[in-house]
């Protein structure tokens, strides 16, 4: 619980930036940047999420212990994901569905053909 009260203006500003981020991420998604597409999309998502956490969830004015819990949970989530990525990168091609070629896991092939 925070005792300090943020001015309303802060919320509107953050909302504006979040909208801008949404617009940008949609526009960029239609350009072919190769592998960078994923990186850019997730970077924007991380920035948006950080803004929500810091301002909408008031972490920017929280006490030290709250901040510590937040950061540590993110680190542990990353540790869990490391296991998944390690598995993905070292996987035997034969264990993929229908024995598909290991490197034909481009995102396009997962997408529906329409719009």
């Amino acid at each position: 619980v925070t005792d300090h009260i943020l001015p309303k203006r802060v919320y509107y500003t953050i909302f504006g930036i979040l909208m801008l981020g949404t617009y940008l991420t949609v526009q960029i998604a239609f350009f072919d940047l190769g592998r960078l597409n994923t990186v850019v999309a997730l970077t924007i998502a991380v920035i948006k999420a950080t803004l929500v956490v810091l301002f909408f969830m008031h972490l920017s004015e929280s006490h030290g212990s709250n901040r510590l819990v937040f950061v540590v949970s993110i680190i542990f989530a990353l540790v869990m994901m490391l296991g998944v990525f390690g598995d993905l990168l070292t996987r035997n091609p034969m264990s993929l569905p229908s024995g598909a070629p290991a490197f034909d896991i481009s995102p396009e092939s997962h997408m529906a053909p329409h719009e």
């Binding site: 909302f15 949404t22 997962h110």
Partner: protein, 155 residues
Amino acid sequence: LDVTLGTINTVVLITSSLTMALAVHAAQLGQRKLVLWFLVATMVLGVAFLGIKSVEYYHKFEEHHVPGPGFQFEREYFRHAQLFFSLYFIMTGLHALHMIIGIGIMLVMFRWTWRGIITEDYYSPVEISGLYWHFVDIVWIFLFPLLYLIGRHGP
């Protein structure tokens, strides 16, 4: 997946996060009426999100893109697509479930504010409900690019 509907839903959900933040703000200042209005706005936007989501689900059912015996897709990508749509339905379904729970929490908060339990000295329930709502929003902030946008470029 339909990028337009996905984008609209992203805007709807971020806006609901704004109204939620403003509800907490009003609660901190003890502006009871404003809290009620912002809670209603949050719930309406939440329901709108679920409505658009169900339209999308309906399209997927019509196109036989729901994994299972009736699944249909180009032969070349059949298994890939089935895997993708399994993940799609599990992730968005779980997210939608959290939204429904969130709307339930908002109803309770509305009732508590209505009955005068929530005051400027005791607004923690609204603030904590807000944390939950923002968390669900953050999940969508990641799901949207992962499911709708990545792999969108090209012909």
